[in-house]
Every structure is written in C-alpha cells, then in structure tokens.
C-alpha cells in the first residue's frame, strides 16, 4: 500500500481520517468446493481531495476491489471503512443509503438508463434516497442543479437527448454528472475512458481532474493508462489480488 499522505493541496495530514479505507480485505470466489482467491489482503486508504490510480493487468482483481469498496459486494474477510467506520456490518438498507450519499460510480460502459433523457438520468440519482413528497417539494431545485452540472459539462444543449442519441464522450459526461449530483465523498471510476477514443478520453479525464481540484473530491480511478496514472496523486498497483506498489 502506498504510504503517501499528500493531499491534493499538497498538505500532508497524518492524523486525518481517510474517506475510504480497506483493511486486509480478502475476497474468494468459489468454483464448486474450491476457493479461488481474487483479493488476498488489500490495505489502502484514500483521503479527501486525493486522486488515486489503481493499475493492474486484466484479472488482477481491480473491478472486484472496486465492487467491495463500493459496498456492492461483500469481502470474505477484512473490512471496508467509510470515514473510519466499518461499512459492511450495516444492514442492506443502511449500506444502500451509505453508498448513495458517500460514493459515486462511473463505469466504463456508462450504464445510463436508455429510456431516460440525459437530464432524467442525472435527476434519477437524486431521487434514489428521497420520498416522493420530498422530491415533489424540491423538484425545481433538483432539476436546476442537474441542468447546471450538465451545462458545466458542456451538455446544456443535450439535456433532452436519450443516451442512444449521445456520443460516447457525452454519455460518459452524463454518467459523471450523475455520480456527482448526490454530492458523494468519493468517486469510484472503473476505466472511465476505456471505451472512448483518445481525444474524447482526454476530454473526460481533464473533466475528472478539474472536478478533483475544484471540489476537493476523492477519486479512485481504475486505469490501464500509465500517463493518466502518472497525473494522479498516487498510484496503487495490483497483481494477483495483492498490492504490489
């Protein structure tokens, strides 16, 4: 595990509580009665404002680690801490609520809901944890907020377009906007540019770096691109389920 505690602003605070931490996280999959270890004791910490790159070959356990860290999957052993508190011991509803307010996801294949427009996809993220009445009272504010984010991401003219009518870069920007509107503490981005051409990928990465700097938002970024990883505050290399550097 990297021991760096340099924040985005360059200030090292050894006493600060990490936004996200993994302590000796292990994960086995089962092939019949045989256990296949995918994560073999991962320790990592991500602090507020940090942009951490997670590198590794295919099959190294990057996506599994992201799912365990995002509370979508449970570790076989070890624990995941959100702001220093164990997360996997919570109930399923509490984990869902925590995931909603603490973590944003950006996927390689966007995972936008095809029947919804760009604006509706973003607004949906705000609807997840509030009641109908609550949403109805705040619907104008929520919509305005979603429009603002999409406009900032250069999608002001594409609000009413469905994902099928958007380019790959535009879809990923919508996915990023969706991850940010719930105001998470950390964004887990699983190869966000893996499905984009280099020019579009550059644009998306610039957007992520900009958000990191302006909003002091933590990022854990899975990537194969060494150049992108080099621009992050830290790099974590994963090999055969272990952190190797």
């Amino acid at each position: 595990m990297s021991t760096s505690k340099r924040t985005a602003t360059g200030i090292v605070d050894p006493n600060s509580i990490p936004v996200l931490a993994a302590e000796n996280v292990r994960k086995n999959y089962w092939l019949g009665k045989r256990a296949i270890p995918v994560l073999r004791g991962i320790d990592l910490r991500v602090y507020q404002g940090e942009m951490v790159a997670l590198l590794g070959a295919s099959g190294a356990g990057k996506s599994t680690l992201m799912h365990v860290l995002g509370l979508l999957d449970t570790p076989t052993d070890g624990q995941v801490l959100y702001d220093g508190k164990p997360a996997h011991s919570l109930s399923i509803n509490q984990r869902a609520a925590l995931r909603h307010r603490h973590t944003g996801f950006v996927f390689q294949f966007y995972h936008l809901i095809p029947e919804l427009t760009a604006l509706q996809n973003v607004v949906l993220a705000r609807m997840m944890q509030i009641s109908t009445l609550h949403y109805w009272r705040e619907r104008r504010a929520v919509r305005a907020e979603a429009v603002l984010i999409l406009t900032q991401f250069g999608l002001g003219e594409r609000l009413s377009h469905r994902p099928s009518e958007l380019s790959g870069g535009e879809r990923q920007r919508v996915a990023i906007a969706r991850a940010l509107i719930a105001k998470p503490r950390i964004v887990l981005a699983d190869e966000p540019t893996g499905n984009l051409d280099s020019h579009t990928a550059d644009g998306v990465m610039e957007l992520l770096f900009e958000i990191n700097q302006t909003q002091q938002l933590a990022f854990l970024l899975v990537t194969h691109n060494e150049e992108i990883a080099a621009r992050c505050h830290r790099m974590i290399r994963l090999k055969d389920g272990l952190v190797v550097g």
Binding site: L72, D73, I92, H100, F105, H111, E115, I130, S131, H134
Partner: protein, 446 residues
C-alpha cells in the same frame, strides 16, 4: 421517488407493455359485458314471467273442490288481496271448416306461439282476474287492430257466440283478427259402465274477442282464455268447480311464507289430514313455479363466468410474459440502480409498480369499456344491422325489445378485485426475480 418514476417511464416507453394492458382490458371488458347481458336477460325474462303470472297459484285441487268455500278460507289470510278461480283444460284451435294444423316438427318448440295447434285453455272470471293478474294490461298492450272492444268485459258473447282471447303473436302468425270464428276441439274422458275411460269429443265455436300480450311469449303462444262459465258448461262441471286458484298478495316480500300458509289453509278446508303430504293441493309462488327455467339461465350465467376466467388467465400470461421480458432486458439497469443506492426491495417495487400500473390501467379501461359496451351494445347492434344487415343478437327470438343488460356493481367490484389480485401475483414473480438479480453480474457483464 425513483420507484414510481422509473415504473412510469418504463411503462410508457415500452410499447410491448400495451399487450399486458390490452390483455387485462379485454379480460375485464368481456367479464363485465357478457355477465351484464346474461343478468339483463335474466332480469327481463323474470319480469316477463312475472307479468304473466299471478303471485301465488293453488294447484292440484281435487275434482270435488268448490271455489266459494276455498275463497273464504284463503281470504282469512292477512296477505291475500284477491283470489280468482280458473279451470285448466286443453284443446286444438282451428278455423271453422278447416282441419286442425299438423303438430310441429320434431325439435321445434312452441315458444313463438302458433307452431303447435295444442293449447292450454284457461277458463277465467274476468272480473276477479282483473283484481288478481295484469289482465287489463295484457289486453291494452296490443296493437289497436287486435284489441278487444270492451276492456271491462273482454269475454262477453258476440252474436250468440262465446268469446275467446288469443295471444297477439299467435293471431299475427295465423292471420286471425277480432270477430273471426274459430273452433276449439277438445275432449273429456268419460267413465263408462264397464269401468273404462273413453274420450268424449268436444267441438265448440268461439268468436275471437281480441288479443292479449303478457310479454311472456311462451305463455301467450300456448294459452287461450275463455270465460270460466263457458268452459264449465263445455266440460259439464258444476258452476262452483275450480282447478286452480290464483292469488294476489298484499306484500310480495312474504310471498313464499304466504304460499306455505295457504297450502295448509286449503288442505284444512278440503279436510286433508296430513298437512305436510307432498302430494295434494299446494300453493306455489310464481318464482317457485318457474324455478327450473330461471335457474337454467342463472346456471348458464355462472358457467359463462367460469369460461370467461380463461380470458383472464390469457391476460395474466401475457402480462407475465411482458414483465419477465422486461426484467431480462433491464438487468443492466438493475446493476446501476443498486450502485446508486437502490435496495433489492426498491428494485422489486419498480417492477411491481410497472405490473400494478399495467393492471390498474387495464382494469380502469376494461371497466369503462365494459360499462359503456353494455349500455351501448344495442346501438352497436343497430349500427351493424344498418350497415351490413347482420343481426348480432336476434332479440325477437327471446321476445326482447333490445339487447338487455344489468350492470351489477358487486360483480364489477369482484371482477376488478380479481384482476387486481391476479395482477399483483403475476407482477410479483418477475419483480421478485429482479430483486434477486445480482447487480454485479450486470455491472461486470456489459
């Protein structure tokens, strides 16, 4: 909030969901329309039978029965408003110097009247009959050219001939009109000295006084009315003899109880010791006398309900298929919903919401269409008849003026509730499958 929002979006953006809505709509529509027509038919037929029947009839009287004594006994009952005697005989009617028409072909009924020459000859006392049945209405409710001249004395003699009343439909079918002479051919069994019974033929000439119309076409077609005194004379019976006594009650709600009391009263008067004996004189309500016919229609209606459940099953299968397809197509979305903070229960609610929306819309449309369809079916029939000449529902066969309907709110509620329960069950299965879906499979898989 995302649950109703997504349910609605997925519902309106997927045209295949219309299949489910259409299925539920069709099922509810069919169940309401068909049952309302059967109920309407039952109601109308009951009214027709009711209009042709006295409230209570005392039947199976012995040959020794005398009307005055029985009338006094019946009048003691507080619920008896009026009573009238009847003689019940039989005969064939034909025009003078004509042979009686041949009997009907096998399988042809006499519901329409006129098909069969055989008739039940009812000897009535018009003055008492007016107080007991709707005789006056029967005589008034005919075309003017078939109406009797004197409504107060419809069976008075004309030109020395005894008068007879025929059903309006029979008169139309046989081309008869008031003033025509007809012969009633009948007979009476006479016991001879050797102990055998031999038929004694009776031919009696009548003049047609006019027509009657009770709205019960079977009654009109098979009955003819003559004066009771004339029939007594024909059959050589005493003037007080009676075969049947018809009764009007004051309170129709207690008709059945009254009939039981009257049975006992008649039996006491006739000095029959065993008042509970199954055989012998008995007073029966109009509903009891027609129970088999009315029950047969009710049974047909119940049978139809069972058959119609098949349509509901088809609708349920359609809905299940479309929802299952949606769950399969939406596995990717289930993953992202979970990543955004959705729970398995929340995911289940989205799909359940879709199913319930399909069911609710189907129930609402089906109920509306069913009610309007029942009310305007007659207009639709007229329209089709006008455009194509095709009669979808030949109402004349059943002596109806229009396609009947009777919308029963309880049945409509039962249909709606059944459809809702089926909708919940059918939606719950795919929704449960969606809730159990591993979000990681979809997040990894794409």
């Amino acid at each position: 909030m995302y649950r109703p929002f997504l349910s609605l979006r997925w519902l309106v953006t997927r045209p295949i969901n219309l299949l489910g809505v259409g299925g539920v709509t069709l099922g509810v529509f069919a169940m309401i329309v068909v049952v309302s027509i059967f109920s309407g038919f039952l109601k109308t037929v009951s009214e027709h039978i009711r209009s042709a029947s006295a409230d209570i009839a005392v039947q199976a009287l012995p040959s020794t029965a005398q009307f005055p004594a029985l009338q006094r006994a019946l009048a003691e009952d507080p619920n008896v408003a009026a009573a009238a005697p009847r003689l019940v005989h039989f005969g064939m009617l034909h025009e003078k110097d004509h042979r009686p028409p041949p009997p009907p072909l096998l399988g042809r009924g006499s519901l329409q009247g006129g098909d069969t020459p055989f008739l039940i000859v009812l000897g009535i006392d018009p003055a008492r009959e007016f107080l007991t049945t709707r005789l006056r209405e029967w005589l008034e409710d005919v075309p003017p050219d078939l109406r009797v001249n004197n409504l107060d004395a419809p069976l008075e003699q004309k030109n020395g001939h005894d008068a007879i009343l025929l059903g309006a439909e029979r008169m139309r079918n046989e081309g008869l009109k008031p003033g025509d002479l007809v012969v009633l051919t009948s007979g009476k069994l006479q016991r001879s000295n050797d102990g055998l019974s031999n038929p004694d033929p009776i031919d009696h000439e009548f003049v047609i006084s006019g027509a009657f119309h009770t709205r019960h076409i079977g009654y009109d077609g098979n009955n003819t009315l003559v004066d009771i005194a004339v029939l007594q004379q024909m059959l050589k019976l005493p003037i007080t003899s009676v075969h049947e006594i018809i009764i009007k009650v004051r309170d129709p709600k207690t008709t059945e109880d009254t009939a039981d009391r009257l049975t006992r009263a008649v039996r006491r008067t006739l000095q029959i010791e065993d008042l509970e004996e199954r055989r012998g004189p008995v007073a029966r309500s109009w509903r009891y006398r027609n129970r088999f016919f009315l029950q047969s229609i009710e049974w047909q209606r119940e049978l139809m309900k069972i058959i119609l459940i098949v349509i509901m099953v088809v609708a349920a299968v359609l809905m299940f298929a479309t929802l299952s397809m949606m769950v399969t197509e939406k596995t990717s979305d289930i993953g992202i919903l979970t990543a955004m903070g959705g729970t398995p229960r929340g995911v289940m609610s989205v799909f359940l919401g879709c199913g319930m929306a399909i069911t609710s819309i189907g129930i609402a449309l089906g109920t509306l269409a069913g009610c309007l369809g029942s009310i305007y079916l007659e207009n639709f029939r007229q329209l089709v008849l006008l455009w194509t000449g095709l009669d979808l529902f030949p109402v004349k066969v059943y002596n109806l003026d229009r396609v009947p309907y009777d919308l029963d709110p309880i049945w409509i509620m039962q249909v709606a509730c059944t459809a809702a329960i089926v909708g919940i069950v059918v939606s719950a299965l795919p929704a449960y499958r969606a809730a159990r879906h591993d979000p990681l499979v979809s997040l990894r898989g794409t």
